[in-house]
């Protein structure tokens, strides 16, 4: 029983990370109706930036927030320069661009920071007061960070004019233009936000899995599974999906299929969701009267 509980709690801790990655995917999907395959490598690259800052003597939280800001700018710049030219192109063109970004970020990270595995500090070290029997301080801390990000995003989209404009631009670009929303810039903002969320996820996962250019490869798959399971159009769904994926992955890995095959859980969840319930658990079909 003790071991079983441990597996569940470890799953919840991993789930927080998957939730963040899933959230970033949902953000870009809401703004552009695309899935950004480069999300994971962008997050890894952001984490390397944080690593470099910390190594240069920055305090952790200073490096953390600067990295988030840099990542936001980077996401915005990528959208303005690389994706804007293919904005009206077919989906497959965009997919190719995403794959290209993935390879480029992976290669550039390896080129600048090399491929040796690096340790990355946690802002919640062992012995922090909220450490418990089942959760390490870092587990609880990173779940907390995920929830803070989620609430902040919710408030941004629900209560600010800019958030409202972003939702409008995603939903009905033509009408959004007719009320004066600069739609293309809203897509850029969406990319910026997604990159910033990805950076947070990267910095939270790096202390657990260690930092190298391929760090996010598997995690991105779990993130996909989280986003799809929860409903690709629903940020809350992505977060809940993240926790479900984390727990399932851990339990199945420990008791059924073994740790070596854990990644197949993500793939089974992705395919299963698409077959049984394509809108996800919490995705809603929009009601429209004509």
């Amino acid at each position: 029983m003790e071991a079983f509980l441990h597996q569940i709690f470890a799953g919840i801790a991993n789930g927080g990370i998957y939730a963040s990655v899933g959230l970033a995917l949902v953000m870009i999907h809401q703004a552009t109706h695309h899935i950004n395959f480069a999300q994971g490598e962008m997050a890894t690259f952001s984490t390397f930036i944080a690593w470099a800052l910390i190594n240069a003597g920055w305090p952790y939280w200073g490096a953390f927030f600067l990295t988030v800001a840099i990542s936001f700018a980077l996401g915005l710049i990528i959208q303005r320069t690389v994706l804007k030219p293919v904005e009206k192109a077919p989906v497959l063109t965009n997919v190719i661009v995403f794959v290209g970004l993935l390879v480029i970020f992976n290669a550039v990270a390896g080129w600048i920071f090399d491929h040796t595995i690096k340790s990355f500090p946690s802002p919640f070290p062992k012995g922090t007061f909220f450490e418990t029997k089942y959760f390490s301080a870092h587990d609880i801390g990173s779940i907390g960070v995920t929830l803070v990000v989620l609430v902040a995003l919710y408030c941004f989209f629900k209560f600010t004019p800019l958030g409202l404009a972003m939702r409008a631009a995603a939903q009905n670009p033509e009408s959004a233009r007719l009320v004066g929303v600069r739609v293309s810039w809203m897509l850029g903002m969406g990319w910026g936000l997604a990159a910033a969320i990805g950076a947070v996820a990267g910095m939270m996962v790096a202390p657990i899995v260690f930092l190298d250019p391929n760090m996010m490869g598997g995690i991105l798959l779990y993130g996909f599974a989280a986003a799809l399971l929860g409903g690709i159009d629903n940020p809350w769904g992505a977060v809940i999906g993240g926790f479900i994926v984390g727990v399932l992955e851990n339990l199945l890995g420990a008791y059924v299929i073994g740790t070596e095959l854990k990644l197949t859980v993500a793939l089974v969840l992705i395919v299963g969701t698409l077959i049984v319930r394509p809108d996800g658990l919490f995705g809603k079909a929009v009601v429209t009267r004509v």
Partner: protein, 237 residues
């Protein structure tokens, strides 16, 4: 009376297909101009050309400023609001969010709140449904929402694309009554595109008849309405 909108030699095309061929028309400050025509005559394209949502050439002067070459967003920021074809509802947002979006480019928050109350007073149905998903509104309610959203800009020019489309006659009459009221009380100039010639001629001061991308007849609404030949040949009754 000074012209608010002056269009000369306007051409518009979708890809290789030209839809408008050198059309000229004008709209005087504070007045309503209507453009009539059958399906496919180029009515919607004319509106899209004015707000630069389609590739255009020629000249569109709004209050003396050239609109051709500007982005749609910039044209809106100059005070040109649109009630688009198909109403353009943000279906997954609430009624109130739709209205707030109409005022997105305005910075005068207090005045926006006043206009929001005004919109609710004008269409109490919208107030009842302010927190409802806009996609669940009926066609007539969505048209009311589209008009209200456009007015939230405090526009100097309102572009209306077939506000009568697909609605019951009673609701159409109500909407046209309110459009007249808005024009008379708030001095909003309007460019109205319609298939329903009788309704449009009853509301507008000036009328133009569009046929396959060309203006074939123009004049004061009154004259056109009373001209037996025009009615028989172009308006079909």
């Amino acid at each position: 009376m000074p012209e608010l909108l002056e269009v000369k030699g306007l051409k518009a095309s979708y890809g290789p297909t030209q839809v408008l061929f050198d059309i000229d028309f004008a709209l005087a400050q504070g007045q309503i101009t209507t453009i009539l025509g059958a399906n496919g005559a180029g009515k919607t394209t004319t509106l899209r050309a004015v707000c630069q949502a389609v590739r255009t050439s020629g000249s569109v002067l709004f209050d003396g400023q050239q609109l051709v070459g500007k982005s749609t967003e910039s044209v809106v920021r100059m005070g040109v609001a649109q009630v688009p074809d198909g109403r353009g509802t943000f279906t997954a947002l609430t009624v109130e969010e739709n209205l707030r979006l109409g005022a997105y480019v305005r910075k005068d928050k207090a005045e926006v709140a006043v206009d929001l109350e005004k919109a609710y007073a004008r269409f109490p149905r919208l107030k009842e449904r302010r927190n409802q998903q806009a996609g669940t509104l009926s066609g007539g309610e969505q048209q009311m929402l589209a008009i209200s959203r456009a007015l939230m800009l405090r526009p100097r020019l309102l572009l209306l694309d077939e506000p009568s489309f697909g609605l019951a006659p009673l609701i159409v009459a109500e909407i046209f009554r309110i459009l007249r009221q808005i024009n008379e009380q708030e001095k909003v100039s309007m460019l109205l595109v319609e298939q329903n010639a009788n309704l449009a001629l009853g509301l507008a001061h000036q009328a133009y008849l569009l046929e396959t991308g060309r203006i074939v007849i123009s004049g004061p609404s009154e004259t056109i309405r009373n001209d037996e030949t025009i009615r028989k040949v172009y308006l079909g009754h």
